[in-house]
Amino acid sequence: MNRIFSRDVPRRTLLQALAAAGCMLLLGAAPVPSAAQGADAFGDELYAKAKAAGEKRVSYYTSMVPAQFQALSAAWKQRYPEIEIQLVRADLGQTLERVMAENRARRNIADVISSNEASFAVLHKAQMLTQFDVPSRQNWAEPFKSGFNGFQFPSRILQIGIAYNTSKVKAGDAPRTWKDLTDKRWKGRIGIADPRVGGGAQLWFMSLWDRPGYGADFFRALQQNEPLVKPGIVQLQQAVELGEVDINVVAYDYVALPARDAGKPVDFVMPSDGRIIMATFDSVSRHAPNPNAARLLINFMMSQEGQEALAATYVSPVNQKAQLNPKGVKADGIPLFASGVSDEQVAKLKTYIDAINQSFQLR
């Protein structure tokens, strides 16, 4: 999985490559099968196969939040009205438990399974997933494109940044970088989510802990600002909305931006010293009862249409042909600090947990 996690992808080269690809497209020089808006021969073929096989539903075992699922299924219904997505939502750990237990009992229900790096490792070892590819992959952003391993489709990319209460902090005064957070003026005004719990907060900690120039010193300085620790990122988002803290140090864009749009006194900043992004992956189950519909769902989620539907809820599209949400946060030119946890980081988890406990005096 290392290829996904290569750090510091030279952004300029990437943009140049994309610009070149764009030019070629405009000139009609690049052979891009079925990638034009509206037409998707690959999808049509899968749809026909699924219908011929009598597949009327596709069971999607996922952590996808309600707003994202609503957006996705509305677009899906328009295009594939004869197959219904059956949503079974739980967090990724619970999803893993269920899939593994179903497999032991030979009662496989799941068609498409969501995972992160850690739960994928378990699924992969148990040979629960099957390889597959989609035509739209050539339009994926790096490092996901070259890091593709044949199983994991990065359908949902979220960005981690800083959220602040706009009635407590003026836009001009808001922190612009991760390092700004160690400024004395934020003493007693910041909050963090417990990084031990996993997810974005853990990735945030690991990537800044490992980065030269940040590490233990950065977290020592942060701790001197006496952060309020809450169990999760969404609880912290609420604390910012209600003004219990002024700044959420570990915010998700797809949680903070809809709140801002709804008129809540919140805004989101993408720190300019480095981006931390995180993907949730989807895979086809090897034992999928509806194998064609499963592939169709993944193809759709990764397509321009599917990614745009998700982008409406502030998912960052991995398919570069899909439009960014116009109200989203631009991250052009900001170096990439992390795009997920690496195998080495997963292996050293105990060390990180100790570091977290020590940094924030959690034990």
């Binding site: 069971s59 939040v65 309600p66 707003a67 609503q70 059956q86 949503l87 079974v88 939502r89 739980a90 967090d91 990724l92 750990g93 619970q94 893993l96 438990e97 269920r98 593994m100 237990a101 179903e102 032991r104 009992a105 009662r107 229900i109 992160n116 850690a118 739960s119 378990v122 417990d194 031990r196 719990v197 996993g198 853990q202 309020l228 620790v229 809450k230 169990p231 999760g232 969404v234 609880q235 988002q237 609420q238 604390a239 909305e241 209600l242 003004g243 219990e244 803290v245 949680v255 709140a259 709804a262 008129g263 809540k264 006194p265 997963v346 988890l349 947990i353 005096q361 959690l362 034990r363």
Partner: protein, 606 residues
Amino acid sequence: MARSAASLGTPPLRSSDTRAPRGAHPPTTEAGAGRRRTAASPAQRWLFAIVAAGTAGLVLYPILMFVIGSVRTAPWGEPDAAWTLAGYLDAYGDAHTWKLVLNTFLIGGMALAGIMLVGLFFAWLITRTDAPCKPVLEVVAIAPYFLPAVVSGVSWAILANPRNGLLNNWLSALLGTQVAPINIYSHVGIAFVLVSYIAPMAYLLMVPMFRNVDSSIEESACMSGASSWLTLRRVTLPVLAPAILGVGILMAIKSLEPFEVPFLLGMPSRINVFTTEIYAALTFTPPADYARATALAMLLVIVTATMVLPLQRYLSRNQRSFVTIKGKGHVTRLTRLGRWRWPLFALCLLYGVVVLVLPLYTIAISSVSKVFGSFAPGNFTIANFQEVLSAPLLRRGLINSIVLGLLGATLTCAWAVLVAYVVHRTRFAGRQVIDFVSYLPISIPGLVIGLALLWAYLGTPALSWMYGTRWILVVAYVTVTLPFALRALSATMVQLDPELEEAARMSGARFGTLWRRVLLPLMRPSLIAAWTLVFIMIIREVGASILLYTTDSVVLSVLVIDSWNSGAFGIVAAMSCYMMFVIGAAVLLRRIVTWRFERVSWSRGV
């Protein structure tokens, strides 16, 4: 309800009854058994067999999966799983664990004291005194249980966090202080929130027991010159001792086991509890460390066992002393509160404002306002409520919750009546084991019991076909809620004088008739209370539901957690309100049924 219990429990028994014609009295008497005990009838033998088999399947088997989980590196059935003691060594070899245990017992102890005090107070006030406006009091006693634990925790963080809690702001303005008077992020704060939503369970479990006390014994005490207070202390409470102890044990576990509230409110002040470690072992990073999680959870099972076993011995030794429902009519004479009548009522109202109105206000405001705390026009919206009603998934969840709640509560109570009968009215060897085993599911935290049920059900061909349907949830709900229904109904079974059954049998009543005409009518108040409690518990259940539901069988509590995890607090608040409407309707129904029953039975005796 009582009727459905009867129809579920009796048909096979009645038929066995007719197959084995015999006299009103079985011919042989068990040697050495008390003079009231007769040999088991064939119907009783059948009943015992069914109850024993059911307990083994419903309770013992998942518990066994749980125990095995604590000594395996991966769930049973995984190809490369091995036996290990690492979970126990890791968990209990670490001094940190014991610090957490201390913390947990400190919070749990305070919570337990509060829960029992509040529960006892309301049960006594509503059933045994002439307190005014009892329906209002009952709402105050029960309604806080409507709030999901997560919502309780969050609304209290909003109300009483030391930085900008609403309540703190009001109080500081009132008292003219700079320092926030309340810190909810403390041991006492957490214990208080636990009391606020667990106390209604204690109340619901104790009310029927209080109702069953015949006032004549209290009257005798009064006639001998005892004051009301002395009567309560020396007569009423001692006769209720087994009931109160049983409820106390359940509540002790309930105060040690919660996860959400200590997790939400303890973290800011670094107050870690034992259940947080279990959560960490299961979720910090997949794959979950089952051995550690289950080894940790085992401590709660052991704590439960050490409380239940002495209680059982105590009950079986002193069985006769707790009988309060006898052959003669049963009068309830209400204690006159005199000049305390209104002050006590006001105290209850104040309590209601604190534990119910304040959190409700917070939720309601946060669900209808765009910007919290602003009262500007245009800041309010009912979009959240409309969204809940219009989403098909949510509508399905609402319907499923109601249907599964009705079905699950009915089956649980029916089963609990049968178990209670076997335990307290027969002399089969092993009946105490059934009672004991049925207690255990409560001691396993929700996070872990869900996994045990998943492994057990999917590991059994007879049950795995149910997986993916609504039935699997019904089975899970019966297992999880059985201890509570059983406690309520066992306590009543102990209060019923066996002479009543003897008399019925002497008059030629068959086994089925005995149930229909004597036992079930006498147990009706307890059945109704147990049913209400179980119904609410099912509507709130998350741990097992989230691992066993599918799209078709999605329930409201799962959807609340979904929205919660995605930060859609307005929708969480709106759904909590719907959940409260559902539960509120059940309570109202209960109130109507009980009221009719009370009027009839108490006017002419039972």
